[in-house]
Symmetry: C2
Subunit: 208 residues, 2 copies
DNA sequence: ACCTGAACACCGTTCAAGT
DNA sequence: ACCTGAACACCGTTCAAGT
């Protein structure tokens, strides 16, 4: 069983693999040790306990997150492109991002995106508190949308399912709407529509 | 230790209390049994295993969720009131709602809210697929916002924290913005602003 | 019909001991 | 400096046995 020295990096890499492929619950100290061919307790020597291990993974994730490059002509287009990029990052690393979230490093992870949004807010003429609100509204919107999406994807075969619900229920004599609501939402389209509507509403309105 | 017969309802009530107060992780079969003064195994007789127990709790939650009463004159006002009510429900039962989510009963739980939103969409002149998109955009927005809020509240003392981040970073010569982003977001205000902006954007725009 | 303890296969963590 | 096994206090679940 026992092979020579095993580095902290090896342990972290193996743990990251486990989390990426099977989620954080699959990361047990015993399984990790078994995969590395060591005794459980040697993991403790290298990285400390499970919490410390997760902390290290989170550090890694935050550091690895790529740059955000806004694309498009108008501030609206550029903000939408930032939102899209953000959504992709979040969707591509769901488990790791969830860990980052739980450990309170979300703000640091989103700093580049925030800075990009600030630039666009300024370009659109918003400043100060209004600009800050703009940045946060977009960020919450994107993160929230992805969280909802993820929850829906993970949810195994909705028990009654929107389908039967909206087949049985009255939809105010609007059969096209009932049909639409009985299908699963088209996540990409819904996301684009929502972000665009939010951005327009924020840039246009000033009613309180 | 052993007292007389214990009903399924007693077990469910005790389990619900545990989840409400300490979250789903605190609901272990052994702790539940200890609280009831029975052997662990008698829980299995009454409700089956842990999964079945959680399923039962979820059923309860879905059934107990109150009606939604839209308030206000204009469709916009009424939609915002629905969003507010929805947010309150979600915030008041965070653990139970999370369980509902995980078990794929979200659609059924949100049916009353969806129906209220459909009415307002119709009142605002939207029909068919557009109305469906409106309903879902608002629903995703509300649920997403609450999920993000919850994650932020649970997150223990952000490691670097938005504060230092935005103190150190350039904010494009906009010190008021840097100050605003260095404070934690005012969730209520941010929610209201976002929903209103989204609704306006959805009701006004038709650009693709 | 209802409750029991014993047992199994898992956890994370600590500790004293080896080299 | 690095790795080990034994032990502790937890899990969820099954099962044969009691009344």
């Amino acid at each position: 069983m026992a092979r020579g020295a095993r580095s902290r990096e090896e342990v972290l890499a193996a743990a990251a693999e486990l989390v990426k492929r099977q989620g954080p619950d699959a990361l047990t100290m015993r399984r990790l040790a078994a995969g590395l061919g060591t005794a459980v307790t040697s993991i403790y020597w290298h990285v400390g306990g499970r919490e410390a291990l997760l902390d290290a993974l989170v550090e890694r994730t935050v550091a690895d997150l790529g740059e955000i490059r806004p694309r498009g002509r108008t501030p609206e287009q550029r903000v939408v492109s930032v939102a899209r990029a953000l959504r992709r990052q979040l969707r591509d690393h769901p488990h790791l991002v969830a860990l980052v979230h739980e450990r309170g490093l979300t703000d640091r992870m989103f700093l580049p995106a925030q800075q990009a949004l600030v630039r666009e807010a300024h370009a659109a003429g918003l400043r100060g508190g209004r600009a800050a609100e703009f940045v946060r509204a977009v960020q919450f919107q994107v993160v929230g949308h992805v969280l909802v999406e993820r929850n829906r994807e993970r949810a195994p075969a909705q028990h009654p399912g929107g389908e039967e619900l909206w087949r049985a229920e009255a939809a105010g004599d609007d059969p096209a709407l009932a049909r639409a609501l009985s299908r699963p939402p088209a996540a990409d389209r819904l996301f684009a529509t929502s972000v665009r509507a939010l951005v327009r509403g924020l840039l246009a309105g000033d009613g309180g």
